[in-house]
C-alpha cells in the first residue's frame, strides 16, 4: 500500500516529462537559412579546407599560366623582331648595293670600249637587287609589322606603348614611299641604260636616284632603329608584365588570404557564436537563471547539444516547480498538523487531523491514531483511578470505623470491648455483641455469622473489587504496551518513508515523549501490582485471621454446650489477639487506602500533567523544528 502510494507520484512526472520533452526537442530544431549550419562540423571543416586549397591552387595556376603566356609572347616577339631586323638590314645592304651597281654601270657605260656582257650582268644584278629589296620590304610590310601580330600588339598595349605600333606603320609607310620613288627612278635609269642614253642616265642617277636611294636607306634605317626601340619597349612591356604579375600575385594572395580568412570566419562563426550563446545559457544556469534558452539553429552537433540543453533545462524547471509545489503542500499540511497539535496541547483530544495522501497526511493519520489510542487510554485510566479512589475511600472509611470500634473495645472489658468494637463495626454487630453478651450462645453464633459474612464480603471485595480491578489494570497495561509497540512500529516505519527532514526530526521527540509515557505507565503498573499484592496479602491475612476467628468462634459455639464459660474465658486471650490483629489490620487497611488514594491522585495528576506539560513540550519541539525548517 505504501509502495504503491509512493511510486506513482515519482514515476508519473518522469513519464510525462519524457512524453513532452521528446517532441519538443524536434520542434525546437529549426532548419537554418544558412546551409552551412545543416552540415556537420567535420564535413564543414573538410569542405572549407578543400575550398581553401582550391583557391590557393587557382591562384598559383593563374600566376603560372600568366607567366608562361607572357614568356611565350615575349619570345615570339623577340623572334619576330630578330627576323625582321635581319631582313631589313639585308634590305639596307641591297639599297647600298643598288647605289654602287648604278655607279658601276655608269662607269662601265662611259668607258670607250665598254663590255656589253659586264653591263648586261650589272643590269641583271640591279634588276635582281631591285626585286629582292621590293620583296623584302613587301614581305615585311605584309607580314612582320607589329600590327599584323595581335599578341605583340597586346603586349605593347599592356606596356602602354600602343602608339609605337602606328609609329612602326608610319615608318614602314615612309620607307615604302621613299622606296617607291627610288624604285621608279631605278626603272627609268635601267630604261635609259638599256636604250644607251648614258648621259641622261647619269643625270638621273645624280639628280634623283641617289637622293631617292639615300631617302629610302634613311627611312629603312629609321625603321630598323625603331625596331630596336621596340625591343626596348618589349623589355618595358616585360617589366610591366612582371609588375602586373607581382600585383596580380599580391592581389591574388591578399584575396586568397581574405577568402580563407572569410571562410575561416564563416566556419568559426557557425561554431563560435553558437557555442558562445550555449555558454551564455550554461553560465546563466550557473548563476541560477533557468529562464534562458539556447536558440537552436541548424542540424549539426552544436544544434544537437543546444536542443539537449534546452530539453534538460525544461526538465529541470519542471522538477524544480514540482518539488516546490510538493514542499509547499507539505508545509501547509505540517502547519495544519501543528495547529491540530496545538489544539491537542490545549487539552482537547477529540481532534481529527485531515488525512491526505502525502507523508504529512500519513503522519497526521498516525497522529490521529495515536491521539485516539491515547485518549481512550486516558479515559480508561481516569475511570480506573476514580474507581480506585472510590474503593480506597470506602476502604478507608471502613478501616476507620473498624479501628474506632477496636479502640472503643480496648479500654473496656475485653469481651465487651470486642463486642462493642464488633457492634460498632457494623450497625447490626453491636446488638449482636450485646446479644452475645446477654445471650452468649446466640450472640456467638451471630458473631460467627457476621464474621463469616464479613469474610465473605472481604473475599468478595478482594476477589471482585481489587483483584478484578488490578487484573483490569494489568490488561490495560498490556493493551497500552501493545499500543506503544504498534506506535513504535508505525513511527519507525514512518521514519523510513518520511520525505521531509523536519518531520523526521519531529518523530524522535515524539517518540521520546511516548517512551516517557510508557515508562510512567510501567511504573504505574508496578505500583498497581504492588498494591494488588499487598491488598491480596492483606486480605489473605485478614481472611486467615477471620477463618481462625471463625474456627475459634465456631468451636466454642459447637462446644458451647459443654463448657460455655470456659470458652469465653479461654476466648479472652484469643480476643485480645484478634483485637490486636484487627487494630493492626485496620491500621494497615487505612494506610493502604491512603496509599491507594495517593496513588489514584498521583495517576490523575500524572494524566493531567501529561495532558498539559507533555503535549506542551512536544508542541514546542515540533513548532521549533517547523520554524527552523
Amino acid at each position: 500500500m505504501r509502495e504503491t502510494d509512493r511510486l506513482p507520484p515519482a514515476s508519473v512526472p518522469s513519464n510525462r516529462n519524457k512524453a513532452q520533452s521528446l517532441p519538443r526537442i524536434r520542434s525546437d530544431r529549426k532548419r537554418s537559412g544558412n546551409l552551412l549550419m545543416n552540415i556537420s562540423i567535420g564535413t564543414r571543416l573538410t569542405l572549407s579546407f578543400m575550398i581553401c586549397a582550391l583557391i590557393a591552387a587557382i591562384v598559383t595556376g593563374t600566376i603560372g599560366f600568366q607567366h608562361a603566356q607572357s614568356l611565350n609572347k615575349q619570345s615570339d616577339f623577340y623572334l619576330n623582331l630578330l627576323q625582321s631586323d635581319t631582313n631589313l638590314t639585308t634590305g639596307a645592304q641591297f639599297i647600298q648595293e643598288i647605289t654602287s651597281v648604278t655607279q658601276n654601270i655608269l662607269v662601265v657605260g662611259n668607258t670607250p670600249q665598254s663590255s656589253q656582257e659586264t653591263l648586261h650582268n650589272n643590269l641583271n644584278s640591279l634588276q635582281n637587287l631591285d626585286n629582292l629589296y621590293s620583296g623584302t620590304l613587301t614581305s615585311f610590310v605584309n607580314g612582320q609589322l607589329v600590327s599584323k601580330h595581335p599578341d605583340e600588339q597586346a603586349l605593347l598595349d599592356e606596356a602602354n606603348h600602343g602608339q609605337q605600333i602606328h609609329q612602326q606603320e608610319t615608318l614602314a609607310a615612309s620607307a615604302l614611299r621613299t622606296w617607291h620613288v627610288a624604285h621608279a627612278a631605278l626603272g627609268q635609269f635601267m630604261g635609259d641604260i638599256t636604250a644607251g642614253h648614258f648621259d641622261t642616265a647619269g643625270t638621273l642617277q645624280q639628280a634623283l636616284l641617289e637622293p631617292a636611294n639615300a631617302d629610302a636607306l634613311t627611312a629603312l634605317r629609321s625603321l630598323v632603329n625603331f625596331n630596336k626601340r621596340l625591343a626596348n619597349s618589349v623589355k618595358d612591356a616585360a617589366d610591366v608584365e612582371a609588375f602586373n604579375q607581382l600585383i596580380t600575385t599580391i592581389i591574388s594572395s591578399v584575396i586568397a588570404f581574405l577568402a580563407i580568412l572569410f571562410i575561416g570566419w564563416l566556419i568559426s562563426g557557425t561554431l563560435v557564436r553558437r557555442l558562445l550563446s550555449l555558454r551564455q545559457v550554461t553560465q546563466a544556469v550557473e548563476h541560477g537563471n533557468l529562464a534562458k534558452r539556447v536558440k537552436v539553429i541548424g542540424r549539426d552537433e552544436i544544434a544537437d547539444v543546444s536542443a539537449s540543453v534546452n530539453a534538460m533545462l525544461n526538465a529541470i524547471v519542471n522538477l524544480v516547480d514540482e518539488s516546490r509545489n510538493q514542499h509547499d503542500a507539505l508545509m501547509n499540511a505540517a502547519d495544519h498538523l501543528f495547529s491540530e497539535m496545538r489544539v491537542v496541547s490545549a487539552g482537547d483530544l477529540r481532534v481529527n487531523a485531515p488525512v491526505s495522501n502525502d507523508p504529512i497526511g500519513l503522519l497526521a493519520n498516525a497522529f490521529n491514531f495515536t491521539i485516539g489510542r491515547f485518549r481512550r487510554f486516558v479515559l480508561r485510566s481516569k475511570t480506573l483511578s476514580e474507581q480506585l479512589y472510590v474503593i480506597a475511600r470506602r476502604e478507608a472509611e471502613r478501616a476507620e470505623a473498624f479501628s474506632l470500634a477496636l479502640q472503643s473495645i480496648q479500654p473496656n472489658s475485653d469481651s465487651q470491648s470486642l463486642a462493642a468494637s464488633i457492634s460498632r463495626l457494623s450497625p447490626s454487630t453491636p446488638q449482636e455483641k450485646h446479644n452475645a453478651q446477654s445471650q452468649p450462645q446466640p450472640s456467638n453464633t451471630q458473631v460467627v455469622a457476621h464474621l463469616y459474612h464479613i469474610r465473605e464480603q472481604l473475599r468478595e471485595i478482594s476477589q471482585e473489587g481489587i483483584l478484578n480491578h488490578t487484573q483490569a489494570a494489568g490488561e490495560l497495561y498490556d493493551q497500552s504496551t501493545q499500543m506503544l509497540n504498534r506506535l513504535n512500529e508505525m513511527a519507525f516505519g514512518k521514519m523510513g518513508i518520511s520525505v521531509s527532514a523536519n518531520v523526521a526530526t519531529m518523530i524522535p521527540t515524539y517518540m521520546q515523549e511516548v517512551r516517557a509515557l510508557e515508562a510512567l505507565r510501567a511504573r504505574m503498573a508496578e505500583e498497581m501490582q504492588c498494591v494488588q499484592i499487598n491488598t491480596i496479602r492483606g486480605f489473605q491475612d485478614l481472611d486467615q485471621d477471620l477463618q481462625e476467628l471463625y474456627i475459634t468462634l465456631s468451636q466454642p459455639a459447637s462446644n458451647e454446650n459443654v463448657e460455655p464459660v470456659t470458652s469465653i474465658a479461654e476466648q479472652d486471650p484469643h480476643l485480645q489477639d484478634v483485637l490486636r490483629l484487627g487494630a493492626t489490620f485496620a491500621y494497615e487497611v487505612t494506610s493502604f487506602s491512603h496509599q491507594l488514594t495517593k496513588l489514584s491522585q498521583e495517576i490523575q495528576n500524572t494524566v493531567v500533567s501529561f495532558q498539559f506539560e507533555g503535549t506542551d513540550t512536544l508542541m514546542n519541539n515540533l513548532s521549533s523544528v517547523s520554524r527552523t525548517s
Partner: protein, 316 residues
C-alpha cells in the same frame, strides 16, 4: 584559420564589436589595392621640369608651337622654345646638339648625318600646294607644266597655260627648305630648279606667302598650313591637296613631318614627342590643316614592275 578561431575566442567581445568595421576595413583594403595597381601602371607621379629647344621646319612650326603651348599647360614646369629656320637648319642643329629636337620636312640622310643616334619621329603628314598670286585664274597645272615652269623655265607666261598675259614669276625657297626638297623630289622628279627662279633669302613659309601675294604673276609652293586667302591654291593634275587625294595616292606633293632627336633619353623630349602623337596634338594638327598620322593608312603598294622599264608616273 586556427589562430583566427582562437583569437576570436579570446577577443570575442572586441571581435564582435569591431566586426562591422572589419568588413569596411577589408573593403577599403580591396579598393586601396586596386587603386594602387591602377596608378602604379597608369603613370609616373614625377613632375616634369626643364627647358627644351626646338627649331627647324617652318612648315611644321605652327603645329609645334601650339602643341608646345598645350604641353606647357599640362606641365607647368616645362618650357619649350620653338623656332623656325628651315628643315636642314633643324637637322644640323640637332645633330650638333644645339637643340634637342629638330623639325624637318625631309629625311636626314645617313650620309649627311651619320650619327647613329639620329632618331626619326614622324609626327604628321603635311600637304603642300602650289600657290599663285590671286590675280591668276588658272586652276590646275600638270606635272610637266610645273617642271617647265620651275626647272627648265620654258614656260614663262600664264597665257600659255590658259591664264592672263602675265609673265610667270616662280618664287622658290633657299636650299635649307625642306619644302623645296620635297617639291624637287616629288614634283620636279629630282630636277634642278631653273636659274631664272626668284630665290628668296629667308626660308619662311610666311615670306613665300607674302612674296607670292605681292608679286603679280607669281607662283610658288607652300605648306597647306601656311596658306591663307592672300594666295590662291593650285591643283596638280586636277587634284587639290586634300586628305582623300593624298591617301588615295593621286596627289604626291606631300611629306612626312619629322622631328629628329639624338636618342631619346631626355624624359621631357620623350614626353613631348609622345604628346605630339597624342589625340590632343593630332586634333591641333587637323585644325592647322595637317593630316594626322593616324589617318594615314599603310599604302597598299604593289612594287611589281613591268620589265619593259616604263617610267614612273610621277616623272612622266
Amino acid at each position: 584559420m586556427i589562430r583566427e578561431c582562437r583569437s576570436s575566442h579570446d577577443l570575442q567581445g572586441s571581435f564582435k564589436r569591431t566586426l562591422s568595421s572589419c568588413k569596411s576595413l577589408i573593403l577599403g583594403l580591396f579598393v586601396a589595392i586596386f587603386l594602387c595597381s591602377c596608378t602604379g601602371s597608369g603613370g609616373d607621379g614625377t613632375q616634369l621640369s626643364g627647358t627644351i629647344q626646338i627649331d627647324g621646319s617652318t612648315a611644321l612650326q605652327p603645329l609645334v608651337a601650339v602643341a608646345a603651348t598645350a604641353f606647357e599647360q599640362q606641365n607647368p614646369h616645362v618650357h619649350i622654345e620653338v623656332n623656325g629656320g628651315g628643315s636642314f637648319t633643324g637637322l644640323n642643329d640637332v645633330s650638333s646638339r644645339k637643340v634637342l629636337i629638330g623639325d624637318s620636312d625631309v629625311y636626314a640622310s645617313f650620309a649627311a648625318y651619320p650619327n647613329p643616334d639620329m632618331t626619326d619621329h614622324i609626327v604628321c603628314v603635311i600637304p603642300f600646294s602650289v600657290i599663285t598670286n590671286p590675280d591668276i585664274q588658272v586652276s590646275s597645272l600638270t606635272h610637266e607644266q610645273l617642271v617647265n615652269i620651275f626647272s627648265s623655265n620654258t614656260l614663262t607666261n600664264w597665257k600659255d597655260v590658259g591664264g592672263p598675259d602675265i609673265p610667270i614669276v616662280p618664287i622658290v625657297r633657299p636650299a635649307t627648305s625642306g619644302t623645296r626638297d620635297t617639291f624637287r623630289k616629288y614634283v620636279l622628279g629630282g630636277r634642278d630648279e631653273g636659274s631664272s627662279n626668284q630665290v628668296l633669302q629667308t626660308d619662311s613659309s610666311a615670306t613665300v606667302r607674302d612674296a607670292v601675294a605681292r608679286t603679280p604673276g607669281a607662283i610658288g609652293y607652300l605648306a597647306l598650313s601656311a596658306i591663307d586667302s592672300s594666295v590662291r591654291q593650285l591643283a596638280i593634275d586636277g587634284k587639290y591637296a586634300t586628305k582623300d587625294s593624298i591617301i588615295a595616292g593621286t596627289y604626291t606633293f606631300w611629306g612626312y613631318e619629322h622631328m629628329y632627336t639624338l636618342g631619346d633619353e631626355n624624359p621631357i623630349v620623350s614626353a613631348f614627342l609622345d604628346f605630339m602623337l597624342s589625340p590632343t596634338a593630332q586634333e591641333l594638327a587637323v585644325q592647322k590643316s595637317y593630316i594626322p598620322i593616324r589617318d594615314m593608312p599603310l599604302p597598299q603598294v604593289a612594287l611589281t614592275r613591268a620589265t619593259d622599264g616604263s617610267r614612273s608616273p610621277s616623272v612622266a
